[in-house]
Symmetry: C2
Subunit: 367 residues, 2 copies
DNA sequence: CCTCGCGGTGCACAGCTGTGCAACAGGTGA
DNA sequence: TCACCTGTTGCACAGCTGTGCACCGCGAGG
């Protein structure tokens, strides 16, 4: 319209809205910075600079470009941008069964925090086979993802090797992993506290509802509970369902409760398991906490439901997600740091399924 | 090692493992097809062809290349590939609160199905503001995502316009959306059936536990239930919590039950709401289904828990995810088709919270 | 022995962006 | 008026891949 000092010989790709070409064979090309440059009467570099924060562009020029971009519906091509930087803003979340229990809340909190940070969270919902995990990581590397966050499972060492070779930051949540940055809750301290609180209430026949899954997170809690109970002179009966879910809780509950000398209190490594245990106990006629005390782990929302009122250790997904993002920041600033370990402890949320000694006193004195 | 007929002048980027360069300023360049070509003693095109299914490469050459790629840890750069094709394998899932209720299961099923299809699912966990939705869609367009799937919320028309202009397939789940492909369950038929089943059991004072959220999916169920009940001459009391969650159910339950002439049966638009209603009813001493019958919607796993045994309409997340993927296939094959609507109905899963007349007969005759 | 066909391979280009470098305009101080 | 400095802009290159086109070698058929 005004001056046309850009290269005219450049063969523009015809009219974008023409319906002559067969759309089926080739994907419609989208509007690029060159289109915007032509529309605004500036060079393509100027367009690039207008969309780069801190670049040197005159205010007037930037506005002109932005107007043109708006008209044409221009969107910076993140593929080209990433190609040049050898880095995309993708962050992979590797997780199995992301719909279940605490994992669902953690995954949701992570996606939210990552989006807030300007990242693009990719949800890799896959199995735990070495084959599947490596395949997932290859996909992420192919897209030059910024980092990979592992929410569940125990990746093989080849997995870490692959990430290391490609300079890909890795964050493991839950598992203690000396080769990579990891975040975990102090399940050991919590389990010990559970045992101590049971014993302090005079309970000496304890139960542990665990799982055969063999996850490090879970076995840590199991071992700590048993050790502390033994140290305090209490007897522990162990029952394990197959998975760390409601069905597993039902099974463990059956095994623990349908017995001559059933335990007076049960520590469940998981809220879901606790729900199963409680439901079975009630079905066979026991009162909670009258006949049986129960403590869980996670504090998923269902723990607060009237049907359960479960006393449990609270893992806060938002806090953990914030921690993971902070760790990612740090790792990107200082890639050569030794693996970092973040371990934080979990408060007990007291509800109806078990009231510790001192809490009861507190309640009584306050009334 | 053998012949070296490739261009020698090409300035290779020094030694990849050298620690002389400052890693902090620039991201480590990864191994490209050129490195593999040099290692295997072939041209770069050959490498590209070796990784392209159906391309013309001699078997011997391909094996040589694959060996070299393995040694170097080569991974095709999907950014460059996508840049050329103007299309990445990303698929966006736009969803709010992906950790809650049925949405969690649907989102998980979708990510699984998409990964199985070779896609990279991106979880956009964001609010429902027009601003937020548009921003999410711009991110996806910037990465040249293959498609966007909307799991919740009612995007503004500018959203559809943006997708249309960029040739981006859009699939809406739950909402009836004339402008785009959409999948929905026949909530209307289900709600009608619920009303009819209640009336068939001689119940004439009915309750509806809904929500103020105003989601089209929810209001469809509400309206259909009320209409059918009215048609059958039954009275309906309506109560609505704020959200379609447990807390909303508690509130609705209070409002419906703590009344002189409480309903004999309640249809809840959602399993979570049903749990809240049931818990409140039991807390004030009512038996289910003796004093109060309840029907829910979704059939989340909790509905099968012993504490609830909720009779509810089953939405199968796997089926819906498969449907969505099939729709995506079809849309990519034929981009110019008119918007497609997939609507399928949901079976009633009978459990303890309400047993329909015929089902009871069946049970009695079978014993 | 010549020609033809065909499978395989290399060259070169396109796709879109960020940025170093040089050029240029305009303002300012001497 | 002139030198100088600063802010702005354009050019050109790099980054990595897929693929059309041309070429080449080799086996087969006449």
């Amino acid at each position: 319209m005004t001056k046309e000092n850009f290269l005219e010989r450049q063969p523009m790709t015809a009219d974008r809205n023409s319906t002559t070409g067969d759309k089926t064979s080739d994907k419609l090309r989208s509007v690029s910075a060159l289109h915007v440059a032509r529309q605004a009467g500036v060079s393509r570099s100027a367009v690039s600079r207008a969309f780069t924060p801190g670049a040197s562009v005159a205010t007037e020029t930037r506005e002109k470009i932005m107007r043109a971009a708006e008209e044409l519906g221009y969107q910076v091509n993140d593929l080209a941008r990433g190609l040049l930087a050898n880095q995309s803003r993708l962050v992979g979340l590797v997780v199995t069964k992301p719909e279940v229990g605490f994992r669902a809340h953690l995954a949701a909190a992570l996606t939210k925090a990552l989006i807030h940070r300007g990242n693009v969270p990719v949800m890799i919902n896959t199995g735990q086979t070495e084959q599947e995990l490596i395949s997932a990581q290859r996909t992420l590397l192919g897209h030059r993802a910024e980092a990979t966050i592992i929410l569940s499972g125990s990746p093989p060492s080849s997995f870490f090797e692959l990430a290391r070779r490609n300079g890909q930051p890795l964050i493991v949540i839950g598992r203690s992993e000396p080769e990579a940055d990891h975040i975990q809750t102090d399940g050991s301290a919590a389990a010990k506290l559970a045992a101590a609180l049971f014993v302090a209430r005079g309970m000496t026949r304890l139960g542990l509802a665990g799982s055969l899954s063999g996850t490090p997170t879970i076995t840590e809690r199991e071992d700590a509970f048993c050790a502390e109970a033994a140290r305090l002179g209490a007897e522990v009966v162990i029952a394990r369902g197959r998975d760390t879910d409601y069905a597993g809780g039902l099974l463990a509950g059956k095994s623990l409760i349908d017995n001559r000398d059933r335990p007076q209190a049960i520590f469940c490594v998981n809220d879901l398991i606790a729900f199963g245990v409680m439901d079975h106990a009630r079905q066979v006629g026991f009162d909670i906490p009258g006949d049986l005390a129960v403590i869980g782990f996670d504090d998923v929302p269902e723990a607060g439901w009237l049907a359960y009122q479960l006393t449990t250790f609270r893992q806060d997904p938002e806090t953990m997600a914030a921690k993971a993002v902070a760790l990612l920041d740090l790792r990107q600033r200082q890639p050569d740091l030794a693996p970092i370990r973040e371990r934080f402890n979990v408060p007990l949320v007291v509800r109806g399924s078990f009231v510790p000694h001192d809490a009861e006193q507190l309640l009584r004195s306050s009334s």
